[in-house]
Each structure stands twice: as structure tokens, then as C-alpha cells.
């Protein structure tokens, strides 16, 4: 078992998606879900409070959408690594905007578990080589 797991915040307005990703991350021994949020405003608050290593965030959400939240997170917590995971993630206009705002990856739904697994592994290695997980207190 790793010393410090990669801490993950999941942001999606769908309970279905939250359950799916939580279950996928739970099965991964190098990562753990430290929080969830149902819209962009909650996500911004949770990022400041939990300081997760990685945020997996939807784009189309009520009230504050994922791209607006990404802009706010990049301004308030620029060190946060955010990957977008959205049904509109394959739209060039949305993906390009997300990359411009600082997203480290834009994935489309349905979720490709190989791609998500590779992202978790990459971010785990990155956090570890950077001198341990920034928010790795939870084990």
C-alpha cells in the first residue's frame, strides 16, 4: 500500500456519475475520494477547504458550470490540478476553453476507465515525485 494516497475531489451534478467515479477510485489503491460537490460553487469551496491533489469535474452543471468553476479555482488555488470529465468534453470548443483555463486533461463521457486509470496513476506519480502528496494527510 502507498504511504500517501492521491486525494481526489469529484464534482458532478449527477448522483449516478458520483457513484460511478467513487467506486472506480475506491478500487484504486493509490487514490482516495476526499470529497464530492454537486455544482461549480460547491467545488470552489471544497477545493479551498480540502486542497485535493486532483479535481475531476463535469462541465454542464446547474448554477455555476464547470468552466466557470475552473476559472475561479485557477485564480484562487492555481496549484490545483483539475481534469474535466464531461459529456460535452469531446466538443472542441469546450475542450479548448478548458485547456486554456488550465485543465490538465479533458475527458469525454462515457468514462473510459483505462484513460481515467492512467490519469490517476500519472497524478499519483507526479504528487509522489514532487515530495509527497500535498494533501496526503488522509491515509
Amino acid at each position: 500500500m502507498p504511504d500517501k494516497k492521491l486525494t481526489v475531489l469529484i464534482v458532478d451534478d449527477s448522483r449516478t456519475v458520483l457513484a460511478q467515479i467513487e467506486s472506480f477510485v475506491a478500487a484504486n489503491e493509490t487514490a482516495e475520494v476526499v470529497g464530492t460537490a454537486r455544482n461549480g460553487a460547491e467545488a470552489v469551496q471544497q477545493v479551498s477547504r480540502l486542497k485535493p491533489d486532483l479535481v475531476l469535474m463535469d462541465i454542464v452543471m446547474p448554477d455555476v458550470d464547470g468552466l466557470s468553476a475552473l476559472r475561479l479555482i485557477a485564480a484562487k488555488n492555481p496549484e490545483t490540478r483539475v481534469a474535466m470529465l464531461s459529456s460535452v468534453g469531446a466538443m472542441a470548443s469546450k475542450a479548448e476553453e478548458a485547456f486554456r483555463l488550465g485543465a490538465i486533461q479533458v475527458m469525454s463521457k462515457p468514462i473510459d476507465e483505462d484513460v481515467l486509470g492512467a490519469l490517476l496513476a500519472q497524478e499519483y506519480e507526479r504528487a509522489r515525485s514532487a515530495g509527497g502528496s500535498r494533501a496526503g494527510g488522509r491515509q
Binding site: 449516478t16 457513484a19 467506486s23 460535452v88 466538443m91 479548448e96 485543465a103 469525454s108
Partner: protein, 276 residues
């Protein structure tokens, strides 16, 4: 892989990283000309008139070309020519990555071929649509993608029947829709019985079917529609159609819509499409 834009594909293949894609997008921003800039460069419009259109755009959410036509500064043929010129001369993401030396030219050619092969299952075949849906660019894409997405998300085998105008509200226990607004706006609805909806929600969430409550039934069906509509929009966008997706809603006004019977191997269900 699913429907993707080329930059994502390159990242997922490990050819480039997000920083390199970001640098390529910045280069594209610098090099690619807007319709207004092309019109001024082509002497179809004075700089002062282009500024007037830009100023008007701050108050009205309309494309430059449409506004310029409305203001009597350009005609539709000129706009069509400018759009084609923009399309032909546009620096694309792969070319920008080569220019920045993040990708080799020969490697780009190979990857473009692989990308086209990867996206081949998402090419849309011509479908016959009922009168009233003809002319809606999104509807045939949704119909074509439906079986593929239903299999990927819920492992349900599906054949989509012919569309019929709706005369009365379909009698199914679970009903949900997503609205896609824009050039080819469309309400995409999915209605199903308990067995079908529970199966979709369970497969989409990974939860045991017994743990699916009434709220989750709707949520799971709604999430499927999100995925279906989002992927269809990505394909439509490649043809220059601008669309926005709204979150799912349970209240469906199906008047003047069309119902497509679904032959499914779990429960019973139907798809509803209504131009917006």
C-alpha cells in the same frame, strides 16, 4: 475511444501533454483570423465598420457575420465566402503542434490517419427522418449514435424504430429529457418502464440495482441522455453547428414532438425528439 477532438486524442495517446496543447491553442489564437479581420483584410469592410459590428456584439449575443448582414455592411454571399476562407486557411491543432516542434510532421500524418480510423464508427449515415424533423442537423446524429451509446453505457442492445408524431403523452413510469439549444435545437427525451430505467441507472452508476431509488432512476436516465446529447453535439460541431446543452429535466412537453419506438433487450422504452 469515444468521440474526441484531435488534441484530446493526442494527449490520451501520450503524444503530447496539456501544456503543449495549451501552447498550440495560444499560437492558433495569434495566427487565426476572425471573420471581421478577414473582411477588413479583403477590403470588404472598413476598419471603422468592423469596429461598429464588434461594438454591437457587446450588447447582442450574435455572430459577427449575422450582425454585419443585419447592419447592411456585408451580404450573405460575402459571409459564406469569408467562412470558407477562414476554414481553408485556419491553423489547426496538429499543424500548430508541429510548428512548435512538439510533434514531428510525419508522425502527425500517421496520427491523423489513426485518428480518422478511430472516429470512423462515429460517422453518421443518412437516415430518413419524419417530416418536421427534416432539416434538423442534430436529430440524425442522435438517432445514429443511440444504439452505440446505449450499449456502451448500459449494455443494452437497441434497434431504433421509425419516428411517428406524438398524439398523446407516452405512458411510461420514468420520463426525462435534455434540451440542446442553438442552430439545430432539439429536445431529446427518454421514457422507459421500471425495468429498463433501473437497468440503465444501475449500469451507468455501477451500483447494485436494489440500491437504485426513484431519484436515481431519473438521474441515471438523465445521465445517459447527457452522454448521448454531448457526443452528438461534438459531431455536429465539426460541421460548424453551435449548440449548448442544458442539465436534464423531468418535465417534458412532448407536443409537436416525435416518438421513436426502441427495440431493447431489457424492459420497454422509447426515444422522443422535438425540434426547439
Amino acid at each position: 475511444m469515444g468521440v474526441q477532438f484531435f488534441g484530446q486524442y493526442l494527449i490520451e495517446c501520450g503524444e503530447v501533454n496539456a501544456e503543449q496543447v495549451r501552447a498550440a491553442l495560444n499560437l492558433m489564437d495569434v495566427e487565426n483570423r476572425s471573420i471581421g479581420e478577414l473582411a477588413v483584410e479583403g477590403r470588404l469592410l472598413s476598419k471603422a465598420d468592423a469596429d461598429k459590428v464588434n461594438a454591437e456584439q457587446r450588447h447582442r449575443d450574435m455572430p459577427f457575420g449575422e450582425l454585419a448582414v443585419e447592419m447592411g455592411l456585408l451580404d450573405e454571399e460575402q459571409i459564406d465566402n469569408l467562412v470558407q476562407l477562414q476554414w481553408r486557411t485556419r491553423l489547426r491543432i496538429g499543424q500548430a503542434l508541429v510548428r512548435l516542434r512538439h510533434l514531428d510532421r510525419a508522425r502527425l500524418d500517421e496520427l491523423l490517419i489513426r485518428y480518422e480510423e478511430d472516429q470512423e464508427p462515429h460517422r453518421i449515415e443518412n437516415l430518413e427522418l419524419p417530416l418536421g424533423l427534416e432539416g434538423n442537423a442534430l436529430a440524425p446524429i442522435v438517432l445514429d449514435l443511440f444504439p452505440n451509446m446505449m450499449m456502451r453505457v448500459a449494455r443494452i442492445s437497441t434497434r431504433v424504430g421509425c419516428g411517428e408524431p406524438i398524439f398523446e403523452r407516452p405512458d411510461f413510469s420514468v420520463q426525462i429529457a435534455v434540451a440542446v439549444s442553438g442552430d439545430s435545437g432539439l429536445l431529446v427525451g427518454l421514457v422507459g418502464d421500471e425495468e429498463f430505467s433501473r437497468h440503465v441507472a444501475a449500469k451507468a452508476s455501477g451500483l447494485d440495482p436494489d440500491r437504485i431509488d426513484a431519484d436515481m432512476l431519473l438521474d441515471g436516465m438523465g445521465e445517459f441522455l447527457n452522454v448521448l446529447a454531448g457526443n452528438a453535439m461534438a459531431i455536429a460541431e465539426r460541421n460548424g453547428i453551435e449548440l449548448e446543452l442544458e442539465p436534464p429535466r423531468a418535465e417534458i412537453d412532448v407536443g409537436s414532438g416525435f416518438v421513436f419506438e426502441l427495440a431493447v433487450n431489457v424492459g420497454t422504452a422509447a426515444l422522443i425528439l422535438k425540434p426547439l
